[in-house]
Symmetry: C2
C-alpha cells in the first residue's frame, strides 16, 4: 500500500449532542430534517415546527445532566487516544489524526472535511462510532459525509474506506464484558449471582426493522458475544429504549421489562448500554434517572448501570486495533456493507466516494467441517 | 454421578406434524388449544371451530408435499443415531434410549413417558428440538411434559434435566454452516460470490416478543455463529416466515425480503432455515413452493435452499455431543432457563419436576481482560 505524507485521517462519525443549552434547538432541527431517520409530510416546514415544540422539554432534560451532552468530550478523548496508539501500532500509515464528524451538532461533517484538507490528509477512514450498523445511524452519517464531500468539491482530495460495523469485534464486546464485570462488582456478593443483566439498545421504528435494517441482528450478536466473554455467567435479556412518539417501535421496551422483572420479584438488575461507546442522554438521563425511578417503584431495589467505555485505556487500545486491522486489510468496507436493506429504494445507499481498491480474496465456499 | 441400570432416556421434544392426511385435523385442534401459542376467547369452543375451518386447506398443502410431514421420520432417525453414538461417547450413562414427544401429533408426550416407565428408565433428559428457546415452543412442550408426568402419576419415576437451548452450540451452527456451504455449491461459480444468504426463521407474534421472549436474540445469535463459521464469506440477512392471521408479527417477512431483493436486482439468493433441524412444512412447502414462486416473479432467477440437517451423520454426532456434555455437566438446565420472560405471569414457568442436583460453580464476576 502506498501512503501519502499526509498520513491517515480517521473520521469519527457520531450523532453528536448539544455542548450547551443553546445547541438543543439546532440539534433537534437537524434531527427532524434527517429523512434517513424521520419521514414527515412537508418535512421542511413540519420538521422545524416539531423541533421548536420539543426544544424546551429537551433543554430541561439536558439541564438535569449538567447542561450539555458529554458526547463531544468522550469522542474527542477516544479519537485522541486512538490516534496516539495507531502511530505506534501502524507506523507505516502514520501520522494518524482523528476528526469528529457529528450528524446533528458541531463539529459537523463539513468542518471535519475542511480541516482534513488543510492538514494535507489524503487517506481517510470513515469510522462509524455506532458499533452496529443501521441505515438510520451509520447510513445517515455516511450519506451526509458524501454530500459534504461533494458540496465542498473535495471528491478527489481523499481516498476513502469505511469501518461500517464492528459490534462483534472483541475491541467492543470485550470492553463491554469488562464493564459488565465492573457493574456486577457494585452488587453485594451474597446477591451477585441473582443479578439479571439487562442489555438496553436504542430502539428503532418497526418500519425500519421491517425494511430489513441490519441493526436488530447485529445488536443481538453483540449481546451474545459479550455474554460469551463472560462465559454466560448470568441470566440476561435484551430490550430497547428511547421509543417515543406515535409510531410502533421494536420491543420489548426496557421500561416495561424493568417493571415486569420487579413484578416477578427480581430485585437485582444491572443495565448495560449495548449500542453506544460513551455516556450520553440514554445513559445519564433515561437510565440513571427515569429507569432508576421505575425500578425503585417496581421493587427492583438493586438497580445499577455498567459504566460506558468512555476513555477506558483498554477500549482506546481496542479502537486503535480495529482501525489498524482495517488499514492492513486494504478493504474499502465490510462485505456485509454491500447488502442494502431489502426495502431500500435509495440508489445512493452503500456509495463510497473514491474508495481504496479491494484486496478481498474469493469467498470461502468449500464445505468443510467447521467444528 | 450415580446412574440406574435403566440408563438414560432422552425425550426429543418437538412440535410434530401429521403423519397422514387424517392427522391434519387433530394436529390443528391441538395447536389451537395451546394457550402458550394462541390465546382466544372461549378457546375450548373457538379453537376447534377455527381448526375445523382451516383443516381442508392445510390437508391440500400436505397433499402437495406427499401427504405427510417428514418430521416423524427425521426426528426418529436423529434420536436413533444420537442414542447409538451416546452409548459409545458416554458409556457411563448407557444404555441411551430416545423417545419422541410431539406437542400436536402422535407420538404425544404421554406415550413417551409410559414407554420410558416400561423400559425402566430413571434418568431422563428433556431435549428440546427447537434449538433456540421460546416460551411458545420449548416452553409449551415442557409445560405439557410436566402436566403429563403428573397426569400419569410418574412424578417420582424419573430424575430430570432439560436441554432448553443449544442454538449457539457448534453442533447446530457448525452443521448449518456446512449446509450453507453445500447450498452455495448449487450456484454457478461465476455468480457464487454474489449470493445473498437469507436466514429464515419461523416468526413470532410481537405480543410474545414484547413480553420478553428470548427467541429473537437467540435466533440472531445462531445466525451470527453460522456466519462466523463461514468467516462471513457472503452478504446475509435474517427474516421471518409463517406469519399468518390478523396479529402483528416480528418482521421483516421473508416473502417481502425476497421480493425486495429482486427489485434491487439481486439475482441469487440462498435461503437457510435457522430454527428447525429437519425438513417440514416451512421448508418443503413455504420455501420450496411459495417463496420459490415469489422469487421467480421478482426476478431472483437463482433461488436455492440450503439442505436441512435431517440425518446428516455429522449432525447426529453433534446431537450426541450436546447430550454428552449436558450429562457430564450435571446441571438441570442452562443458567438462562432461570429467567422467565419479563412479562410472564405463569408461576409454573421454568418448573422442572424432580430435577438433578446442580453442580454449578459460583459465577465468574472478576474483571479480566477477555480479549
Amino acid at each position: 500500500m502506498v501512503h501519502s505524507s499526509g498520513g491517515t485521517g480517521i473520521v469519527m462519525l457520531n450523532l453528536g449532542g448539544p455542548r450547551g443549552l443553546d445547541d438543543v434547538g439546532p440539534f433537534l432541527e437537524r434531527l427532524f430534517e434527517d429523512r434517513e431517520i424521520i419521514q414527515l409530510p412537508a418535512q421542511g416546514v413540519l420538521g422545524p415546527f416539531i423541533a421548536r415544540r420539543r426544544t424546551p422539554k429537551l433543554r430541561r432534560t439536558y439541564e438535569s445532566i449538567g447542561g450539555a451532552s458529554p458526547l463531544y468530550h468522550w469522542t474527542s478523548e477516544q479519537g485522541r487516544g486512538m490516534a496516539e496508539r495507531l502511530d505506534r501500532l501502524s507506523p507505516e500509515t502514520a501520522p494518524h489524526r482523528s476528526y469528529l464528524a457529528f450528524r446533528y451538532t458541531d463539529p459537523l461533517t463539513g468542518e471535519a472535511l475542511r480541516q482534513m484538507a488543510a492538514d494535507g490528509v489524503e487517506r481517510a477512514v470513515a469510522f462509524s462510532q455506532y458499533p452496529q450498523f443501521s441505515c438510520s445511524t451509520t447510513g445517515s452519517s455516511l450519506h451526509e459525509l458524501w454530500r459534504q464531500v461533494r458540496h465542498l468539491g473535495l471528491e478527489s482530495a481523499f481516498t476513502w474506506s469505511v469501518i461500517d460495523r464492528w459490534g462483534s469485534h472483541p475491541a467492543f464486546t470485550g470492553t463491554v464484558a469488562r464493564k459488565v464485570a465492573e457493574g456486577l462488582q457494585q452488587f453485594d456478593e451474597a446477591v451477585r449471582d441473582d443479578v439479571v443483566v439487562l442489555f438496553s439498545a436504542h430502539s428503532l421504528p418497526l418500519r425500519i426493522i421491517n425494511r430489513g435494517d441490519a441493526y436488530l441482528q447485529e445488536v443481538a450478536a453483540s449481546v451474545h458475544e459479550v455474554m460469551r466473554h463472560l462465559d454466560f455467567s448470568h441470566e440476561y435479556a435484551l430490550s430497547f429504549q428511547a421509543d417515543v412518539g406515535p409510531v410502533a417501535w421494536q420491543g420489548p421496551s426496557t421500561a416495561s421489562v424493568i417493571r415486569a422483572l420487579g413484578r416477578q420479584g427480581r430485585r437485582h438488575v444491572l443495565i448495560v448500554g449495548i449500542v453506544f461507546t460513551t455516556d450520553h442522554l440514554d445513559t445519564l438521563h433515561e437510565i440513571d434517572h427515569e429507569f432508576a425511578e421505575i425500578a425503585a417503584e417496581a421493587g427492583v431495589t438493586g438497580f445499577r448501570r455498567a459504566p460506558a467505555p468512555n476513555d477506558d485505556p483498554l477500549f482506546l487500545d481496542g479502537l486503535a486495533e480495529v482501525v489498524a486491522a482495517h488499514l492492513r486489510s486494504g478493504e474499502p468496507c465490510s462485505r456485509q456493507f454491500g447488502l442494502r436493506c431489502a426495502g431500500c429504494t435509495s440508489t445512493s445507499c452503500r456509495e463510497i466516494v473514491r474508495p481504496v481498491t479491494s484486496h478481498r480474496p474469493a469467498p470461502v465456499t468449500t464445505p468443510a467441517d467447521p467444528r
